[in-house]
Amino acid sequence: MTAFIIRRLLILPIIMVGVSLVIFTMLQVLGPVERSALYVRDIPKTEQQIQNVINRYGLDDPLLTQYFYWLVGREDPVTGETVGGVLRGDLGYSRTGREPVIDVLKRKLPVTIELALWSIVPIIGIGIWLGVQAALHHNKLIDQVTRVLAILGWSFPTFVFGLLMLLIFYAQLDWFQPGRLSTEFSLLVQRPEEFSRYTGMNSLDALLNLRLDIFIDSVRHLVLPVVTLSYLSWALLLKVTRSSMLEALRQDYVTTARSKGLGERVVINRHVLKNALIPVTTLAGTTVASLLNGVVITETIFNIPGLGKAAADAAISLDVLTMLGYALFTAALFVLVNLVVDVMYGFLDPRVRLE
């Protein structure tokens, strides 16, 4: 087990270097002049100004040199200050966000995390719970319904689903609105003297400020995006939980447990669930990936100013640095999550540990 963890940890830096290489290569699709435009805030007036930027960041150096500078930064030949350097946290300047990319990421991260955290509730609640129920009532009505739900959910394009949600629950029924808060509250939360922002997550901050009205309002605004973001994940979880449960129910130790005279509830909870849910944990990585994919579309549709919307806006106006910042962030997060999942899997399943 220790060897397994050490091996995974040793691979981690290799993967991260590879990820940075892929991002750097994507940057190379653009020529030096186009890339110089990524580093300036004002429109350059002369050829010489463009050339200066290219020299300053070394944009026409050999590729390997450029990669090195891009990673660790580079001393400006004229002024002597260090510029660039992804490892120093300098991801460049975001044209759409009008501030450094790293600040955009920091500011928008809580919004996306809030959305993702709330989505976990239905993912686990509906996905795993329904999956378990479907397996326990194999081939009964609930099983058939969940199968249809899963395959329909799997086929539904996220953006169409989100727009239909808006069409029904906002345009027709007017139960839920797009955005993060109603107008009166969204102005209020901007004033630091009346509302202190601890985390940047509206629902949590509202609770910490003891403002139940704001909390309810923010949760109301979260309902549709959370449903849109999570249905794809619970469709998958439902499928995997169901088949994993069916598999576990057939095992000999279940028969043994039953023949020992244990009650059905004890058999399910102690013997079946415990083993059936192990493979389900491996889906944590996939779920995180589908959340990171999903926020791009969900936040765009529901007009939520999080990381996903920032990435989508950046992509449309070709704000390459913001996009690459998001890519770097998602890739790093995803690699870490997968590492944690792998290690956890080893702890949960003794068979893996022994190998």
Binding site: M26, A289, S290, L292, V296, A311, M323, L324, T330, F334
Partner: protein, 352 residues
């Protein structure tokens, strides 16, 4: 599945030689010409009601694509079929049934007169902002969907199968290197990676289906490589491979003739599921405004017009509902077929 044929066998054999039984029983001519695995696949697909529904849906799309000039006749003699004809330039979408005023298609087909009882074209499913006709977009968009699915999945499959086969067959350092490359690409969430690459490719390649397609290929091949590698690792230890190797077969011959044909089935299942999923991903990119130009006959592009009318969706529902239904049905068709294939292929399900 084979239970009935076994039962009709005059000699009742005990369970433990049921594997041999598979080869003893009578075979139909079709089965002989297709081979056991393919026959089982085909039989499984046509006997499962869900996959039959899937095949019907997909056939409908293929027929729509083939008969597109009949369902939505070219408005003029010279017309780029990938662009949706537009009725003027008005900003506000018009509802289904609005009379077509400018650039009216010259021919009015017989089925149209029969169903609507009219002699002039109306916008059957309404128009988007910019007056692009939705009916035309959906009919000609089925060609786009089928082409995108085929091109992207084929290209990604060729890359993925080659890399997976090399890694699985040779193992050792080659396997290590290739699998690390796969892990690097998997580190990017699929849609995020594709979104970024596609938007960077747009200024290079111009607005067409290519930026998004290339991006989907670059980030899409990894699944096949991983899956196939695992199955090849299991297959290459079989006796017939060792026998062929002992007989002096070359590596390339071993891979192509003996290993791939026996290890490819799980990959085929994922390929069929991806035919639908790729089109959804491509539509999602078009919806975000990356890739094809405005007015391209692509379902996602039509839905993207709804982004400007989020606050008035109840009036302009037709921009979402019709192309959305096309996307849903298309991907549902592939998923139904793919799901049935998976059940047939799953070794755990075989003997049940």
């Amino acid at each position: 599945m084979t239970d009935t044929t076994i039962a009709s066998d005059p000699v009742t054999l005990p369970d433990y030689i049921s594997v041999e039984n598979e080869y003893l029983r009578k075979r139909s001519r079709l089965e002989k010409s297709l081979g056991l695995e393919w026959y089982r696949l085909l039989k499984g697909i046509v006997t499962n009601p869900l996959s039959v529904a899937g095949i019907i849906i997909l056939s409908a799309f293929i027929l729509t694509a083939i008969f597109a000039p009949f369902l939505a006749p070219p408005p003029t003699a010279i017309w780029d079929t990938t662009l949706i004809p537009r009725d003027g330039f008005g900003e506000e979408p018009s509802p289904p049934g609005t009379t077509w005023e400018r650039n009216v298609p010259e021919t009015v087909p017989g089925w149209y007169k029969l169903i609507t009882g009219r002699d002039e074209w109306v916008h059957l499913m309404g128009t988007t902002s910019g007056q692009y006709d939705i009916w035309y977009g959906i009919v000609w968009g089925s060609r786009t969907a089928l082409i995108i699915g085929a091109v992207v999945v084929t290209a990604a499959a060729i890359i993925g199968i080659t890399i997976g086969a090399l890694a699985g067959f040779y193992g050792g350092w080659l396997d290590e290197v290739l699998m690390r490359v796969v892990e690097i690409f998997i580190a990017f969430p699929f849609l995020v990676g594709a979104l970024i690459l596609a938007s960077i490719l747009v200024p290079r390649l111009g607005r067409s289906i290519w930026p998004a397609s290339i991006a989907l290929i670059v980030f899409g091949w990894t699944t096949y490589a991983r899956l196939l590698r695992g199955d090849i690792l299991a297959t290459k230890e079989r006796e017939y491979v060792t026998a062929a190797r002992a007989a002096g077969a070359k590596d390339i011959h071993l891979i192509l003739k003996h290993i791939l044909p026996n290890a490819i089935y799980p990959t085929l299942v994922v390929l069929s599921l991806d035919m639908g999923a790729i089109v959804l991903a491509f539509a999602a990119l078009s919806f975000l405004g990356i890739g094809v130009q405005v007015g391209y006959a692509d379902w996602g592009q039509i839905v993207s017009h709804a982004r400007n009318w989020i606050l008035a969706l109840d009036t302009y529902w037709y921009i979402i509902v019709y192309p959305g239904a096309a996307l849903l049905l298309y991907s549902l068709g592939w998923n139904l077929v793919g799901d049935a294939l998976r059940d047939i292929m799953d070794p755990k399900m075989r003997k049940r």
